[in-house]
């Protein structure tokens, strides 16, 4: 019957769409990106805050820093351990993590995140200078 052909074709198309990730990847290995730390970062051992926190919530602290610097004019951040940092993406964060492509971008691209940091900040202030 003619309509059965239509129904089965429709069903196949639907299931192909649903299962798209399975056949599109065809079982190939997609290793998660390995974030590279610069020598300087490795030497530091710990970032502004704990590693797990920084992994998931670094955007929160960057947001807080921006707010504090731009709105309140306060440039100094003290972490729970009492250590002081200058709140600056370009000068503090990128000082250690000077390898944006190997550090920031790797994960952001992997997770399809497009932070707007770089709308204003230049990628590598030291080189540009």
């Amino acid at each position: 019957m003619k309509d059965k052909r239509w129904i089965v074709s429709g069903l196949v198309v639907f299931l192909l769409i649903v299962l798209f990730p399975f056949w599109y990847n065809r079982g190939r290995a997609v290793p998660p990106p390995e974030v590279k730390l610069t020598e300087k970062a490795k030497a530091e051992k710990e970032c502004v805050l704990a590693r797990d926190y920084m992994k998931a919530e670094h955007m929160q602290i960057l947001d807080l820093w921006r707010e504090t610097v731009v709105r309140e004019g306060n440039r100094i951040y003290t972490n729970p351990k009492g250590r002081e940092f200058v709140m600056s993406l370009s000068n503090t964060c990128l000082d250690c993590h000077s390898n944006k492509a190997e550090f920031c971008d790797k994960c952001h691209n992997y997770a399809s995140v497009r932070p707007y940091c770089w709308d204003c900040h230049i990628e590598n202030p030291k080189e540009a200078r």
Binding site: V8, L11, L64, Y110
Partner: protein, 352 residues
């Protein structure tokens, strides 16, 4: 109190507890790998079986609901979509039905006031349903970023569009809006709340609602809520999450360390929805395409529709009829096949 929505609420709550405890007990493999695979299998097999079982039953008669002027004379304009006379028209009718919920858009609300019945346009169900379905679709499409590497450009465009409206809040103790707010998630949550409240508040709808009507709404509420929680509040390590999800679709399952319990709750609720889907009313997704009142042409007098099981039936024939009434017919001057005399002869012969 209504046992039906309480029951549905209870089930969703139990599902939440199970996944929460499971994640806490370190059953990552069960909740992150085994159950998702099982859910996908159940969904695919169940969906296909349901659709094929519908297809197995034929459509013996062409019974479209004609919602406009049928094809008539050239000087009478035809409603080409609401009463299609071509396959193209049927395609458009279904397309509008599926993409714009055209029938639901007709919805009116009846009121009896001062002995007068009125029917007003009632658009809220249509708006709510449209918002719900499109938000859900956007959310689903956005989630492909967890299953594809690299994320396709079209999904990136969708993400950009979905997050065009920036909402960032930063007060002491309240920080919200990073990463960028996806509108679809909140529209979905709002629409699901609206649809659930509507079910509970409107008396006639509450009266006809079953546990299986509340359950998917509550489940989807749980999914949207846990998703939003995970994105904006108790953030998870997205890199680890993608490692897990990509592992699933590349058949190299892994359970990375350090994924929060909220993720496992979210995932388990999604799996429940997937597995529940083919055995529930949610199959209207497939059924709407197979509804004989919508997917057939209205020109049924111009083209013969064939019924595969059309069997012969006993009929009272003209001969039998004339046999019974011949005398009276002749007397009334009505023409007959066999004149009275012939009929009498035959009867006599038969007796011999």
């Amino acid at each position: 109190m209504n046992t039906r929505y309480l029951f549905a609420f209870l089930v969703v709550f139990v599902l939440f507890l199970v996944s929460w405890l499971g994640a806490a007990a370190g059953l990552g493999w069960l909740f992150g790998v085994v159950i998702p695979y099982a859910a996908v299998v159940v969904f695919v097999v169940g969906f296909a079986r349901k659709v094929l079982s519908w297809a197995a039953s034929p459509v013996p008669f062409a019974i479209p609901t004609t919602a406009g002027q049928g094809r008539s004379f050239p000087w009478i304009p035809q409603a080409k979509i609401d009463n299609p006379a071509s396959n193209w028209g049927v395609f458009l009718r279904l397309l509008f039905e599926v993409l714009t919920f055209r029938s639901l858009f007709r919805n009116t609300r009846m009121r009896l006031k001062e002995e007068k019945l009125t029917y007003q346009l009632e658009i809220f169900l249509w708006v709510g349903a449209l918002a719900f379905h499109y938000a859900f679709l956007t959310v689903l499409l956005r989630h492909t970023r967890f299953f594809l590497e690299p994320t396709p450009w079209c999904i990136q465009v969708l993400e950009t569009l979905d997050s065009f409206f920036r909402v960032e809040i930063l007060y002491p103790g309240v920080q919200f809006g990073l990463p960028a707010v996806y509108l679809s998630g909140f529209v979905l949550l709002a629409a699901v709340v609206y649809l659930a409240l509507r079910r509970i508040v409107i008396p006639s709808v509450r009266y006809v609602s079953l546990a299986s009507d509340y359950f998917p709404l509550l489940l989807i509420f749980g999914i949207a809520f846990s998703g939003i929680l995970m994105r904006y509040v108790t953030k998870v390590d997205i890199r680890a999450v993608k490692e897990l999800t990509l592992g699933l679709v590349t058949f190299r399952p892994t359970v990375p360390e350090g994924i929060g319990a909220v993720f496992y709750i979210h995932l388990f609720l999604v799996c429940t929805l997937l597995a529940y889907f083919p055995y529930s009313k949610l199959m209207h997704l497939g059924g709407v395409f197979l509804s004989p009142t919508r997917n057939l042409r209205g020109d049924t007098r111009a083209y013969r529709h064939v019924n595969p099981w059309n069997y012969p039936v006993p009929v009272h024939t003209y001969e039998e009829y004339e046999e019974e009434f011949r005398d009276k017919m002749v007397e009334a001057g009505l023409p007959v096949e066999k004149p009275l005399a012939d009929a009498a002869d035959e009867a006599a012969q038969e007796k011999e």
